[in-house]
Structure formats: structure tokens, C-alpha cells
Symmetry: C4
Subunit: 195 residues, 4 copies
Amino acid sequence: MNKTRLEAFSDGVIAIIITIMVLELRPPHGESFATLRPLLPVFLSYVLSFIYIAIYWNNHHHMLHACHKVTGSVLWANLHLLFWLSLIPFTTAWMGENHYAEPPTALYGLVLLMAAIAYYILQSRIIATEGRNSVLARAVGSDWKGKLSPVLYVFAILIAFGSHWASKAVYVLVALMWLVPDQRIERALVRREDS
Amino acid sequence: MNKTRLEAFSDGVIAIIITIMVLELRPPHGESFATLRPLLPVFLSYVLSFIYIAIYWNNHHHMLHACHKVTGSVLWANLHLLFWLSLIPFTTAWMGENHYAEPPTALYGLVLLMAAIAYYILQSRIIATEGRNSVLARAVGSDWKGKLSPVLYVFAILIAFGSHWASKAVYVLVALMWLVPDQRIERALVRREDS
Amino acid sequence: MNKTRLEAFSDGVIAIIITIMVLELRPPHGESFATLRPLLPVFLSYVLSFIYIAIYWNNHHHMLHACHKVTGSVLWANLHLLFWLSLIPFTTAWMGENHYAEPPTALYGLVLLMAAIAYYILQSRIIATEGRNSVLARAVGSDWKGKLSPVLYVFAILIAFGSHWASKAVYVLVALMWLVPDQRIERALVRREDS
Amino acid sequence: MNKTRLEAFSDGVIAIIITIMVLELRPPHGESFATLRPLLPVFLSYVLSFIYIAIYWNNHHHMLHACHKVTGSVLWANLHLLFWLSLIPFTTAWMGENHYAEPPTALYGLVLLMAAIAYYILQSRIIATEGRNSVLARAVGSDWKGKLSPVLYVFAILIAFGSHWASKAVYVLVALMWLVPDQRIERALVRREDS
């Protein structure tokens, strides 16, 4: 099966997800800067989700670079990941419009959690096809970021009902943790080329 | 003619179709979880259609992999398929918003039926160009899934007016039947490489 | 300059144009088939525009296949064509919602006319770079379809104010005329490979 | 890392941005040409933004053509540019709907300014990886257009509060200045091939 087409389709879907979120940022009816103020939480939600989806695209990019065989299970694991990512515009919009409310903040985390699990499944399926000694398997290694993120999401969902601000702070923290690009795979590839 | 560009265009259209469906899932005006409840049927319709379009992309992917010549008739048969797929967001939205109603359930099946027929025409056009002894022709073989699906769609459309639940159950059943990835073509390709 | 990226960008824009038109087909609020009736003209406008954009994609595909050098003027002529195509969803929506009205029918034709002129300019720019004896120049030949279409669009715009039905009939006629795929370029390519 | 996928993703996002702007051009409820008149400023804003995004795509295209290594910082600088471009549909819509107002005109310029800065950062990151003697570094040269544009945007933002018309005239002027395709890189590439 053709990896290029899998990448192209994923790129298309991710590009659309990242862009249609901006449709939620509707121009206000007034013409003064003051009319923009209610849009601020919508805008900040957009920024956060833009960064999350950019991180996913970036890591997906790296991971597939180290993948050589696209089996049926890899293909469906990839579609499963795209499904959860496709719900991010919805949770972003709900959280942006109800920025002092706990349930939207918790649901935002729940979809992030499901996307993280879907990413983990995809990674496992690729490693299963590539083999335990593959570049990807060694690159992922202990995968502390991948294991810590779902734990932090669960934590953020639980505390959302106490303080939605604390919950949002956790989402920002996880994003910052990942913003440092995932150089493990890059390094493993370099090491392989060296030896 | 250029197969790559046909694939890229189809991927683009399918990626947009699968993603814009989520725009129908509008954030509720309230901020409690209870306000999400009316969205549940819209969400379930989205899940079902996401799976259907993913199946089409998946099978389209396999079929074009085994296609070597893109003639004018293949190109238009492909556009014809994309046309019916492009109506799925509409029928999904109508069914999601009127989930206890028979007509939207029947129309949903009608568009699936037309897409299935369009897929069959595309497959026939490709086999006609590739030849009776091509990888694709042998891979498709008796094509029981491709022949059974339209029959089940017609059945689901007819029973929709008696029980829309029974009709929806048939749509889920057909999706499950296809979720098992179409390994016939893959197997035929492997067999060919072996010999 | 890179032809592949020009094609990919054009494919992306055309894929989005052809798909977002369907967003205008909003699910009716009722649940009976009768509530679909007012959507019929919107649907028919969608079908017509889908075919037009498919024809443009198809011919664009053929034309760029015979193009080898992408100069700055080719690039901007291509963006100019995409601009007019991007207005088709707007004119389609206006005509679909006001199907007994003359002005929307005339405006629909005006945008088709501008797109046809933009296509002609793009074709001329490519021939200018490829040379008078290029495959494309010989393939286009007398280009009766390309010359007749704008004339028919002008005719349709003028008669729209008398009878919008007659005007729409002309749009359908031009679409049918082009639906026969543009085999001139294909034939010229074959002839060249033969000699 | 894979330049092709970076280009494909950027193309996808830019293609969506340039196309969804047209969704703001909603068909009027009336059916006479007079009902189109209030849409004129929305249409003119669309034309201006279409040209700006086309210029960005064009220059991005040239710049990446001269880039050979995609590092993590190049990738994020590119996503940063896409973020600011993704806000153009919003500022275009606000300016189009409030065309006699100063704040939307100023905000439009602010987003253009941020995009110009993001483009400059991306260019610097690429030159840093490619080296001071690379094709790109020499091609960019004194980069008077790239340096003049932000200055003109700041000027336009400031005068917007005096006369929004003068401000808009500056935006048109900058667009015209760039419409002349950026031939510096092309020329440098040609020079290198010559020597």
C-alpha cells in the first residue's frame, strides 16, 4: 500500500481541521475595537487548538517518515486518530463561547485524551509492523511525553470541575511540553545513518 | 493521463467531505453537559458517515493502486462517484437533526445506494481498460460485498418507512461488513509478485 | 519553477470550491419529503456547477500535462482563473435561491464568461512559453469550443432578461458540449509519441 | 525531514484560506442587482485578500524551492506564518462588513504586518540553515520589498484612524508592489546554473 497517499490524505484532513476552526471566529457586528473583546476567549481557544493540531501534524509527519509498510490496521488506526482530531474544532468552539464554564473545559480535555490514545494506538500498530528493532521503536524509546500527556489530560478533566482555569493551565503546559519538537526520531535516524 | 493528479484531487475532495460534516455539529448555546444531549443523534450520524467515507477512501485507494491507465471514462466515472459522496454531509445533517423521522433515514440510504452504484461503474470502467485478466479483475472476483451492499441499501430504504431503527441497523451492518479492509486486491497483488 | 506544486495548489482550490458548494444545500427544518421540494432548484444549480467545475478541472489537468515551463505569467494567469472559479459557489447559491429571477441567472453567466476568458488567457500564456509548434499549440488547434463558449455565455446573459429558462438551457448546452472530454490534447500527445 | 510534505501541507492550508473567504460573500436575500450593492465592499475586500494570499503562496513557493533542509525551527516558523495567514479571512470579513470604519481597517493591517514578520522569520530560519552563501541568501539580497512592506503596514495602521481610505490605498499599493513576481530567487537560480 501507498504511504504517500496516506500522508496526503492525512495532510488534507489536518489542513482542513486547522483552518475551519477560524470560521468560528465570526466578525462582530459592531465596528469598534470594544466589540472584539467578547471574541478574546474564542481567539485564545483557537490559538491553543492551532498549536495542538500543529503538534499532531508535526509528530505524525516524523512518525510516518520512519514507517515503511502501510497495513490495513495502520490505515484504520490513522483514520481513528483523524476522527478524534476532527472533533477539536467543535470542542474549541464550545469552550471559546463558554469560557467560564467547567463542562466545555472538561470535554475539550476528553477529546485531547482520546486523540492521544488514538495516536498511541497508531504508534503501536506501526511499531508492530516495523519490528521491535526498527528506527521508530528505538526512537520512541521510553516515550515519557506520550505516556505523561494522557495522565495530565485525565488530571485536567478532573480538576476542571473545581477550577476551569487550572484545567486550562494544564492544557497550555502539555502544549508547551510538546512544542519542543520531537527530536527522538530525528536523532535515531541520524544515528542509523552514522553507523 | 496522470493517475497521481486524479488520486490527489479525489483525496482532496474526500478529505473535505469527511471534515466539513463536523461543521454540522454546532456547539450548543448552553454550557452544561445536558445541552449536549440533543446533539447525540447528530454525533452518531457523523460517526456513521465518517466510517462510510473512510471505507470509500480506503477502497478507492486500493482500486486505483491496481489501475494503470486513466481514460476519459474512468475520470468521469470517478467524478460521478465524488458527486454522490459530496451529498453525504447533507443527508447526514438531515438525518441527524430529525432522528425519529423516516424520510431522512430513507434519503440517507438512497445516497449510499447511488454512491455504491457509482463505485461499481468506476470499477467496471477501470476493469474494462485494464482487461479481464488484470490484477484488479481477478482481485474483485465475485465481489459479493459490492453486490450485496446495494441490495441491503434498497432493503433499508424500503423498511425505513416501517421502522427507521431497523433501517439504521442495516446501515451499521453494511459499514461493519466493509470495515474489514478489502484484502482481495492486496492478496492478488501479493500473488502476482510471488509468481 | 515547480509544475507539481502549481497543480497541487490548483487541485486543492478546485476540490474546495466543488465541495463547499454543497454547504449551501442546508437540511430543511421539516422531516417530510415535501420539505425538500424548495431545495430542488438549489440542488439543480449545484449539479450544474459541479459539472462545470469538473470540466474545468478536467481540461486544466490536460492543459498542464502538456505544459513544461511554469513562468511568472503562467502562475498569475492560473491564479486569475482560480479567482473566477471561486466565485461560482456564490453565483450558484444566489441562482439556486432565486430560481425564477433574471439577475441571478445573468450573473451566473457573467462569472462563467469571466472564467472562460481567464482560461483562454492561461492557455495563451502557456502556448506563448511552449512555442507555436508545441504539443499544446497544435492540440488546441482552431479551439472552436473555447471560442464558442464565451459567445454562448454572452448570448445567455442577454436573453436572461427575456427568459431565464432559455438562459439556463444555454448553460446546460455548453456544459454538455464540454462533457465530451477534451481529446484534442490527448490525441496530439499520442501522435507525438507515434512519430 | 521531508520538504514535499511541508509544501503539501502549506499548500493545503493556503488553498483552504483563499477559498473559505468566499463563504463570507453570502448571496443577498433579494433577487435584483440592487441587492448586490451592499456586497460591493465585501467583494473588494475579498479581491484584495485573494491577491495578498496569492502573493504569499507565490513567494512561499519560490522560497521553499531554494530550501534544501527542513529543520524543526523552519517547520515551526512555517506554521507560525500559516497561523497569521489563517486570520486574514476574519479581518477581511470584518473590514468588508464595516467598510467606513477605522478599527477594522487598522486590524486588517495589523494581521498583514504580523504575517510579514512571520514570513521574515521563516526566511531568516531558512537562510540560517542554508548558509550565508546559499542561493536563497544571495537571492534575497537587500530585500527592500520585504523590509519596506512592514514599514508601510505600520504607516497604514497609524493613518487608518485619520482616513481609512488612505490606509486602504496603502494596502493596495503594497499588493501592487509585490504583484510583480519575486524574480530575485529565480534570477539567482539561473545565475548559479550558468556558472
